[in-house]
């Protein structure tokens, strides 16, 4: 919902002088009709297109995402409480056999 989406973004800086001039009267302090979009909605991108390198995972670098995902089990958790309890519990059951 930003005005930049309409292509006026790049010119914003160069014309800040106009902004101060025009914002002097009370009537001009109109708020942009922002926040029309809902929180949970896919947002409009501020630009229409971008270079591949500006992507979250640029082409050719897909292999670099492996550290972001893990297998759903964990074998190195022997010190963790639940595993310990499980071992004790199993030992107890064994004792009953």
């Amino acid at each position: 919902m930003s005005a930049a989406a309409d292509g006026s973004g790049p010119t914003a800086k160069a014309t800040t002088a106009t902004t101060t001039d025009t914002s002097t009267t009370l009537k001009d302090q109109q708020k942009p009709a922002a926040a029309l979009e809902e929180d949970d909605e896919f947002e409009d991108f501020p630009v229409d297109d971008w270079a591949p390198e500006e992507s979250e995972v640029p082409p050719g670098q897909e292999g670099g995402t492996t550290h972001l995902w893990e297998e759903s089990w964990d074998d190195d958790d022997t010190s963790e409480d639940f595993s310990k309890q499980l071992k004790e519990e199993l030992a107890k059951v064994k004792g009953q056999k």
Binding site: D6, S23, K27, F45, E56
Partner: protein
């Protein structure tokens, strides 16, 4: 009017769709905050059309031929725009009660004049961002109008019969957005039905308008309607540019919505493909969008690859961290009680995002991890091979522990009494695991043991 008209000619000179679209933006640009007031104050209802037509002609660089369909079209569009500005300024005025319904109706006229410009063949394909701006704000104003109507609520119950009240009430609550969906659908049709050669075809507007419809249908909770659009797209595949040829913002949004639709239809393999692709291609500073993509990709990968987000990934997106971390941890350690707690505590958020049912299926993975631990805790024989015969009661003990949570209180009592019954249940759970190919082996009921496969007892988990 001269400001508006100069902007118009400038955009034409540059051949810039975005600049042209900016001329009908209902939001003042940051560098010209009183743009709307200036345009509105420049004329009045009696002379608006004549003023615009005159100004457009006057500010043109070259002599204008008459009759000029382009000037006529834009005179219509800008007249409608002028009325819409009036409604917007009134709605934003601090002392009056905002009437967003009026804004919506006025903006709908803008959208309709724009549509007319395209269907009459006056507006060319390079001006498509104008169509986008018209559609985007139509939807936004419709949502505001409906919110407004709901807030002032109740006073529309002309139906005193009582019986039908609910239906009528339900139907009326998104009245303007449903109306907007029809207008946006016409925009989509404008794009898909264009037979012009590709370089100057409105087909380039297909994915933008599709995405706008998806957003609208999702908001209306009529996700099923998206299927019609997908069918139409696939039917016109042969004379449409490939998706990859479109701007990335169109592609990512499209893949996100298609991925979510497939996710909801439990077509997880396809969902994985589209969501992964959307995630990779998404602009790296569009954090919120990345979060939304991952919100669906995480449950998808849990089912398709039995993978979980790493703590590194979750730490990059704190809101995802609070959403998924407890569940992720529970699954990883195989604690059923922690899983149930996490699912119950996140229920509201999960249901809202429509991921509850998928996450619930993660309990199987959690159970698999628990049973896997029992197997790993078993003895090794002389040759260093792990014992593949596991007593059902061992599994039962693990499940009892897993379900009762970390505290061991009172467990011994339970163990004595209900062991027999429990074993039936446990056998059932194990059979289910085997059926789902999360475990390989068979149950020997007479001996009360589960015989696991010697190679790959828990497929895909390295043992």
């Amino acid at each position: 009017m001269e400001v508006l008209c100069r902007e118009y000619w400038h955009a034409n000179q540059e051949g810039s769709g975005p600049l042209l679209a900016a001329t009908i933006s209902p939001i003042a640009p940051p560098n010209y905050l009183n743009r709307l007031d200036a345009i509105y104050g420049d004329t009045n209802a009696a002379s608006i059309s004549r003023d615009i037509s005159y100004s457009l002609t006057k500010t043109a660089n070259a002599a204008i031929q008459y009759p000029n369909p382009e000037i006529n079209s834009w005179t219509e569009i800008y007249s409608a725009y002028w009325y819409a500005i009036g409604a917007i300024l009134a709605a934003e005025h601090p002392t009056t009660k905002p009437d967003w319904t009026k804004v919506y109706e006025a903006w709908k006229d803008v959208a309709n004049t724009v549509i007319k410009g395209y269907s009459g063949g006056v507006l060319e394909a390079w001006t498509l961002p104008v169509l986008y701006t018209a559609g985007k704000h139509l939807r936004a104003f419709a949502i505001k109008a409906d919110e407004n109507a709901r807030a002032s609520g109740g006073d529309t119950s002309f139906n005193a019969g009582g019986l039908q009240e609910d239906i009528a009430g339900d139907f009326g609550k998104n009245e303007k957005l449903e109306d907007a969906a029809r207008v946006i659908n016409r925009m989509f049709t404008l794009c898909i039905s264009d037979r012009a050669p590709l370089e100057e075809s409105r087909k380039w507007g297909l994915y933008y308008t599709t995405n706008l419809l998806f957003k609208t249908y999702f908001k209306l909770n009529s996700i099923g309607l998206s299927k019609n659009i997908l069918r139409a797209l696939s039917a016109s595949k042969t004379d449409t540019p490939t998706l990859e040829a479109f701007p990335r913002s169109h592609i990512v949004t499209f893949k996100y919505y298609v991925g979510v639709i497939q996710f909801l239809e439990e077509d997880y393999a396809q969902a994985e493909e589209n969501l992964t692709s959307a995630w990779h291609m998404c602009h790296r500073s569009a954090t919120r969008n990345i979060e939304l993509i991952l919100t669906y990709l995480i449950p998808t990968l849990l089912l398709t690859r039995q993978q979980l987000p790493s703590s590194r990934l979750l730490s990059l997106y704190p809101s995802l961290g609070s959403l998924f971390a407890p569940l992720t941890l529970a699954i990883r350690i195989g604690s059923l009680s922690a899983f149930d707690t996490a699912l119950a505590e996140g229920e509201h958020e999960f249901v809202k995002r429509r991921i509850y049912l998928t996450l619930e299926r993660g309990r199987d993975i959690c159970l698999r991890n628990l049973l896997r631990k029992v197997y790993l805790a078993g003895d090794l024989d002389e040759e260093g091979k792990r014992n593949t015969r596991i007593y059902v009661k061992d599994f039962a003990a693990a499940i009892r522990l897993g379900e009762s949570g970390a505290s061991g209180e009172g467990m011994d009592v339970e163990m004595d009494g209900s062991a027999g019954e429990n074993n039936d249940e446990v056998e059932c759970l194990v059979a289910n695991m085997i059926y789902k190919n999360l475990m390989k082996g068979y149950i020997s009921r007479e001996r009360g043991i589960v015989v696991l496969s010697k190679n790959g007892a828990f497929p895909g988990t390295g043992i």
